[in-house]
Symmetry: C2
Subunit: 289 residues, 2 copies
């Protein structure tokens, strides 16, 4: 089964835990709406690529880890779009959750997706309970304080911002969790997989900055020019477009260099290069090296 | 060490994971503010009372389970107080989190406390990893959809409300998690401990309804008369004060009857009776039977 099919199936299995018929219908509908149809599922695909590279022997657990990371990513999008943050009207080409279901349901949808991520993880861990300790720790740290995606969002509320801590937390943390969780689910030492995720996260952040400046709203499915409008740091404003693209290419290269020794290192590097070639708007992309 | 000391220590250990000096300072401050000083810590004390009754052999794990439940309770209070929900200006006799730190930090504080609950659990589970599977499942289910406290809050957004599902989810779920998690942390069969928590939760809900009608704002540390103001169901409005108090006493009695066989059943029953005597405003309380 290909990665995308495994991820969508694992997400569906997680959402099935909400047992539509019993829960409050608007919340349950909004949870599904936040997760399906998805974006590129870039974090969970990275998680599965690492699990495969580590010769995964508990595929249900790695799929649940990948789904948990995607659920947490979706939760963060729902809360980031709230009126008190970005007040975004659209997401993935449709009304954002608070526009479609109201602000109260949007707050609760984010909360419930966080809970669901851990519920799905626990459910898949019966066969390998020892790995759950590592997985829950990796994933909970990657969203919380001091350095997870929620902390990253909270840096936007500070007048004095540590830019490096902000970007590492806001974007890097969940990519690092994707590589570490993929390894942990496969029984590998998760500690040696963080650096790879951090570098890929940094590359993704720069690509996101570039798209915010260069892409059209239609292409992106959400408003562009948001960093400028909201006063957020953007690498293109700092470096110019040419240097930002060069920096992105350098980061992809340095990610390839820190792939740990593992049975499937070659395939994993091919995955990273393939992903990198999709990161840039078409008019800026060069063929992958 | 008494329960209250264990709980405060375990909560402090959990909060220490946010490593104040590294994270965004307002978020980290608001997280502490939401948790300390606390209320009666009624749920974590119930969790520890059950663990003790089951002859706990992993005290760090039961303390972490108790702390996780309290962190999730605090998270729900922060989000319930938000402008889009109760818009409460005070909590525990002080400004609510959104009044003290702003709405954005209040959203993130609730989110980060949920993450912290699972992080603290995982950290304490090294010694007994198999129990973590059960614990994470119990606790995640008790907050999410279809029947956890977040789902309970979401019933308030529905025009057609299943009153029983609403109250069981909004209040009962976390009490049931407290008894089940106490048992799971001690290696007992958690399934047989849910009913006790549900009955205690129901008793607590009625006591809360009574206090909302009878107590003063000063005594309660938060606004009273909120159920009427916000159109929420309240047992006193439905039954009258006399029958509501009788129903509460009946529920406490029926809770005592469903305490599962365990080494410390007598002490646990004494704990439940002691708690029950504190549930009512002083002028309504009768000596415990």
């Amino acid at each position: 089964m290909d990665s995308m099919t495994r991820i969508e199936r694992s997400l569906s299995q997680a959402l099935a835990l909400t047992r539509d018929s019993e829960g409050p219908p608007t919340l349950v509908t909004a949870m599904r709406y936040s997760v399906f149809p998805g974006g590129a599922r870039i974090r969970p695909r990275l998680c599965l690529a690492v699990a495969r590279a580590c010769a995964e022997d508990a595929p249900e657990l790695s799929a649940a880890g990948a789904a948990a990371i995607e659920l947490l990513h979706c939760a963060s999008l729902v809360h980031d779009d709230l009126p008190c943050f970005d007040d975004a009207a659209t997401r993935r080409g449709r009304p954002s959750v608070h526009k479609a279901f109201g602000e109260r349901i949007a707050v609760l949808t984010g909360d419930a997706l966080i809970a669901l991520a851990f519920q799905a993880l626990a459910r898949a861990a019966e066969a390998a309970p020892k790995r759950l300790v590592d997985l829950v720790g990796i994933i909970a740290r990657s969203i919380g304080a001091p350095a997870g995606i929620i902390a990253g969002q909270a840096w936007e509320c500070e007048s004095q911002v540590d830019l490096c801590a902000y970007q590492q937390a806001k974007t890097g943390a969940l990519f690092a969790a994707a590589t570490a969780a993929g390894a942990a689910a496969a029984g590998d030492d998760s500690a040696r997989w963080y650096l790879l995720g951090e570098r890929i996260g940094e590359a993704y952040q720069i690509a996101d900055d570039i798209r915010d400046v260069v892409s059209s709203e239609h292409e992106l499915g959400k408003p562009t020019g948001q960093d400028e409008a909201l006063g957020r740091p953007n690498a293109v404003h700092r470096l110019g477009i040419g240097d930002a693209v060069a920096r992105l290419e350098g980061l992809v290269q340095s990610a390839l260099e820190v792939v740990p020794r593992c049975p499937g290192a070659a395939d994993l590097k091919a995955h990273i290069l393939g992903e990198a070639s999709r990161l840039l708007p078409r008019e800026l992309a060069r063929p992958a090296a």
